[in-house]
Symmetry: C2
């Protein structure tokens, strides 16, 4: 028996950076994996316990958000039109002083709700009170790679605590949850702290999720202060001995690229173009990165910089941004944008063999996208429409780990009314900014 | 009696580049104009012939698309990942060789359908067979400023023909349709043709809608060939004696800006950031333009470069693009982005006193935007949410010239099924690219 049969779908297929939409396919799921993809009719529907008619829809891998601070969705719209120093020092680190653990439980659910509606089935989240985040993920039915953020100033003892978090949650929820060490950044963690984090990661077999070289200014400041780039600092401190998810690296130098390209352990870059544009951080040159074989995935970052957790936007801005940056419209093509959004994001997320591709044997994280909207017609190119026309509201149905979690835009795991009812009374407290109470100072 | 009463809406108000959402307002319409905006309850609902409950929704001016080639929506997705030379010479000008007048009628309806769904109530369209476009606008109930495109190579006789078009349609459909002369560009119209167009415009009291300085390369080519920038050519030929809608001007020089800032006749720039990014054209520096008092409006350009006709995208990319371009996140703020999308787009469109603002006496082009989506919650800032979170699918109801043309996403003027049924059989012919049949060669 087949547990779920998706019938009459187009199926997005990416092979060697070529993209096509296979017409008229059925997808059979057994348990949490894809058993078979075959021309419509080849699989007897009476063999399926349940089925979904996806006529007029396209099946593609669920989006993987490779870098976020999901519960920050609580504060969206509160740090606008300011540069990064002010954004941290006048807004974020005061707002975050208000955070209590239960806020993370509800803020995480809110962000997961938004991401499910946009077809995002996995997120690498870097935040605080992550036991609460993990419980939200358990409930949502999505996939997450969770890291409990650490500032060096909070003491070396954190490393044991967050290692315990990793051991508590890695592999939980039937494998949907993975956990990872998450020192914040080289500008908030000193070398001893980074070394201790790297050592602990090796000891417990964990990866590391860290911010580095977020801007060119950070790289310049690090060079001026100590003669090393932030990436060189991470290398020196042994961070790259563990599989590493590197957020941003907008300020990476040519030498940094060589370091990253030569690593034996996997390293991936989370690219969050909406946040970069909004905070005027510049873009990294993904064409060069990718030519060196460095994996790049899509990220939203937090919603106080990005405003949404929508990876359709991130995919579109990745393509548009690289064309503008390089002055060459042949760069970052539609197949490349789709590859970054799927296959490569799975690599950056650390599950390259299981995610990011619809094929027999892969985990069943599948979204069904309606292409019948006026904004897609005439559907002269399905792949162009995915990159340049589709929007979150086109996502009709979301399947994660073989389970349907949104069906024709109806949520089957999370309760929007309950989430709103629990967040609304928290907002008066959460919106306060007490100048004395910043949890950090941004001074890279 | 009031013809239509919109109750319980938030109302977007822009004054002196400050933006706010007034809560709990009712809007009374009489005929095609706004009679009164007042706190909810101040207007007796029994005085209204019809009413709409807009609880949870925001009323704002319909978007004005200041530069498009709407019927090109027929070809969306067919000119991807190529630079501008190839885009024109290998794609557009071969595809356009297939065009018959009836295609424009249906292609225009298709684009208007998409724009209505995205809350666009007016468009400055620059294309061919514009009698057919005008008939589509009559039917759609939207507003349009229509220009019949002219290439110099097609002979001076066109000017009389298009002047006749202007006189036939200007003021039609109860004033919803205006018409304008539309020589294509200085690189496709020689000086004599431009002078004759300018002369005709003055003679018949028409404005001019023209492409110029689309890229820096065009400006360089013009300087190398004749020692003048494209903007200087237009000035020399008298184009600016008529009110002018200038598409793009990405390649305008500092001297060009001075010319434009000093004009006595109104001149406005249509800014189409998605197309600029997609074709790697660079951005113009709107911060400098606006400091000189030059009006800037939002445009989509055609959907073969822009893929959609969605001005939410254009507004967002305008803000994000200027922050990136200038390296300063304090530039192009949320109120400025909203001002460009409303008040200034109305100026560029040539109806600054009637459009782009919700206030008593203005024309009633109003859209109702649903802010209850998960991607807006918590609604910490309505204005931030409009610029950075809202999407076309949030538009629920569209009113143009006092008439409801889309109600809770149901079209009341155009018939999507009819449009699709009429376009589908045309597409095999329309998609052909016969290398011998280009209507022009791009060689600026």
């Amino acid at each position: 028996m087949v547990d779920l049969l998706i019938r009459n779908a187009k199926v997005l297929q990416l092979r060697d950076e070529k993209a096509q939409a296979l017409p008229d396919r059925d997808i059979a799921l057994r348990g949490n994996r894809i058993e078979l993809i075959a021309p419509t009719g080849a699989i007897d529907p009476s063999r399926a316990k349940k089925d979904i008619d996806a006529d007029g829809q396209l099946a593609m891998p669920g989006f993987i958000n490779t870098h976020a601070h999901v519960p920050m969705a609580l504060w969206r719209g509160l740090g606008e039109d300011v540069n990064i120093e002010s954004w941290f020092n006048d807004y974020i680190w005061h707002l975050e002083a208000n955070l209590v653990p239960e806020d993370v439980y509800w803020g995480m659910q809110l962000g997961l709700l938004e991401m499910i509606e946009a077809g995002v089935t996995a997120v690498a989240d870097h935040y605080w009170h992550m036991d609460y985040a993990a419980r939200a993920v358990e409930k949502a039915g999505t996939r997450a790679l969770l890291g409990q953020a650490m500032f060096g100033a909070n003491g070396i003892g954190q490393i044991e605590e967050t290692a315990a978090f990793v051991q508590r949650w890695d592999g939980a929820a039937g494998g949907r949850i993975r956990a990872i060490l998450a020192p914040h950044a080289p500008y908030t963690c000193d070398d001893d702290f980074l070394r201790a984090s790297a050592h602990k990661a090796e000891q417990i077999g964990s990866g590391i999720h860290i911010h580095a070289a977020e801007t060119r200014e950070q790289t310049q400041a690090s060079l001026a202060r100590r003669g090393q780039t932030p990436i060189e600092v991470l290398e020196d401190c042994g961070i790259f001995n563990a599989p590493t998810l590197l957020a941003h690296a907008v300020g990476a130098t040519a030498g940094d690229l060589e370091i990253l390209a030569d690593l034996r352990t996997p390293v991936g870059i989370a690219h969050c173009p909406k946040t970069y544009a909004k905070l005027a951080m510049g873009y990294n040159n993904l064409v060069e990165w990718r030519a060196l074989g460095i994996a790049v995935g899509l990220g939203s970052d937090g919603a106080v910089s990005n405003n949404t957790l929508d990876l359709w936007e991130a995919m579109r801005l990745t393509a548009l941004g690289q064309k503008q940056l390089t002055g060459d419209a042949e760069n970052l093509t539609i197949p490349q944008a789709l590859t970054i959004a799927t296959v490569e994001s799975a690599k950056v997320y650390g599950q390259p063999h299981d995610l990011g591709d619809l094929a027999a044997g892969k985990l069943a994280d599948i979204i069904l996208v309606d292409l019948s909207g006026t904004h897609h017609f005439p559907l002269n190119s399905v792949t162009a429409s995915l990159v340049y026309n589709a929007r979150a509201s086109d996502v009709r149905t979301v399947i994660c780990d073989g389970q349907v979690i949104m069906r024709e835009r109806e949520h089957l795991t999370l309760d929007k009314d309950e989430i709103i009812a629990n967040i609304a009374p928290r907002m008066e407290r959460l919106r306060r900014r007490d100048a004395a109470a910043g949890i950090q100072t941004y001074k890279p």
